[in-house]
Symmetry: C2
Subunit: 340 residues, 2 copies
């Protein structure tokens, strides 16, 4: 295996493109030798950002893509019509094997559509779930699927559990990760039809550490490491996590500004509060892989700054070095082919 | 209409029964004349609590119920076999018209099952949703359904929107409440099959102020007043709200204890922080009505204390005085009968 991971980065995606995106790529190549970054976007705009910086020239190159898919565009139409967009050009680099991974902070829907239609699913994988990380009071948890496929079937959720376990163990480093299915009670007989049908399949699935149902209340308390659900529910969990978290932090900040007394308190308490909120925000801003593709696509938060892009590039290196797609192939699609 | 609302209260339900439950009933009758409370439970245990207190004797009576449905019992079995439980006896009081409403902090599943099977749905109502309140940074929002019926159909969600609007307007006092459907994007074409089918029905439904889709992230920011979804998703929203909120509050408390400096800050800031968290916790501890029944059943949080019970009794008075079931009958089931 080569010692360099080739990562394409969507230089035009997200609220802070291209400045912060390019800066993230620069920070990555300035801190590690094992990565080669392809900045995909409008050549002049990207070059203007690079010109300001010091960096090892042999580790970064620009791939011109004159079109941009905007945040509010219709995903399917955008992917179909904007062939010269940074998103489509970057995904084609993955498809053609020119790079190992593609990172974008752009239009979420377009990332999901492009991942499935341009990069494509691995042979034998039925669905490619989006697997973001959420913070818990014990660390982090992986939730999948969070947006790629609505109306999933039980066999898809089993694949999610398998792929999520592999990612959590080999990329995040959680040994023998506990897998749970989101449910509205802890007993096996509870839940909707999808959960009832999926539960015994997960219980009988070899190679995963299935611990049963998890109620949404227990997710922030670290009740499981890999949390499986269909995409609609996953999306609700992810968005509400962020919504409630931000609201609570704003409530704290507002409370500290209400009186002279509280303002004095804030002077003393703020450093500790900021420090304690930091892991929470960082987890929500960690790149989310789209698993089960012919390559790797990572979606980062629309408001990504340089640090998120740099970290996502690191995730791509680990993903390739740990041979995640090789393990998925061996354990999931290989096993299925033997059965067939 | 009579000027007294008759409310049965499950004296044995919840983590703090019977002490806090009886105290809540006492606080209610000591503060208002327009309510008559029936404390349903083990006669001796309830009498022992009453004996300690001063209260207008004509406003409280005990209804003996020697059995108790425990928090962890199987709901359907419990309702079927424990005919002398406080839950079943209390619900039968509603069914027989002996009281206007029943309040319980006990086994959630049993409240839902008992509400539907003992009290029963109003003629013409297809599903009876559980409608709890969640806090937002602009006030509160009503979410329904949060647990009563999994695998709902589009016409059920339309009923939820109608009943939720009536409750929000006449019990909570929000004029022309904004109704939204939980979705994974704001555009009409997004979502799973249920949302896609329900969206046009809500848009064309007269008498509600439908504003479109709401992403979970916008719920804590007060994006809508009445939030419609199927029960599995609603349950996830409610539980995660509580889970993330509690985790964040714990994070703040822990942060304030990390150093001498932060402890000094806490001394000054804590009163303001407590005050700002209070509405958040209060909203999550407000009683949730099961709407569309022949009478009213209110579920309060399992950890309810006297204040929650007292407030829930107040909700029952408003519910009856505002003739909510009369309005539901006139606007929803009446209209349907004319169509048929």
């Amino acid at each position: 295996m080569e010692t360099v991971t080739r990562v394409a980065v969507d230089a035009m995606g997200g609220d802070n493109a291209p400045g912060e995106i390019v800066k993230g790529a620069l920070d990555a190549v300035n801190s590690r030798k094992d990565v080669h970054v392809f900045l995909v976007g409008k050549k002049d705009a990207v070059a203007a950002e690079l010109d300001k910086a010091q960096y090892p020239k042999e580790q970064i190159e620009i791939v011109d893509a004159p079109e941009v898919i905007e945040m509010a565009e219709h995903p399917v139409n955008a992917i179909r019509t904007k062939k010269q967009s940074s998103m489509v050009v970057g995904m084609n680099l993955v498809k053609n094997g020119d790079v190992d991974a593609f990172i974008s902070a752009g239009n979420s829907g377009a990332i999901l559509v492009g991942g499935q239609t341009i990069v494509g699913r691995m042979h034998g994988i039925k669905r490619a779930p989006l697997a973001p990380i959420v913070p818990t009071d014990k660390g982090i948890a992986l939730i999948l699927d969070c947006g790629a496929n609505v109306d999933a079937r039980p066999e898809h959720l089993v694949e999610f559990a398998q792929m999520g376990s592999i990612y959590m163990e080999y990329v995040i480093g959680v040994k023998n990760p506990r897998v749970a299915i989101v449910n509205i009670g802890e007993e096996e007989e509870k839940g909707n039809e999808l959960v009832k049908e999926t539960f015994p399949l997960l219980r009988d699935c070899p190679g995963i550490n299935f611990t049963g149902s998890i109620e949404a209340r227990e997710i922030p308390h670290g009740g499981a490491d890999v949390i499986v659900c269909e995409a609609f529910v996953g999306n609700v969990i992810l968005k509400l996590y962020e919504g409630v978290g931000v609201t609570m932090m704003d409530t704290v900040k507002d409370a500290l500004m209400t009186s002279l007394r509280s303002k004095i308190g804030a002077l003393f308490a703020m450093p500790a509060l900021r420090k304690s909120f930091k892991p929470y925000l960082e987890a929500l801003h960690t790149g989310a892989p789209l698993l089960g593709l012919n390559g790797l696509v990572v979606k980062t938060h629309g408001s990504s700054k340089a640090i998120e892009i740099k970290n996502a590039i690191g995730q791509c290196v680990t993903f390739r070095e740990e041979n995640i797609n090789g393990i998925i192939k061996e354990r999931i699609t290989g096993a299925q082919q033997e059965e067939a």
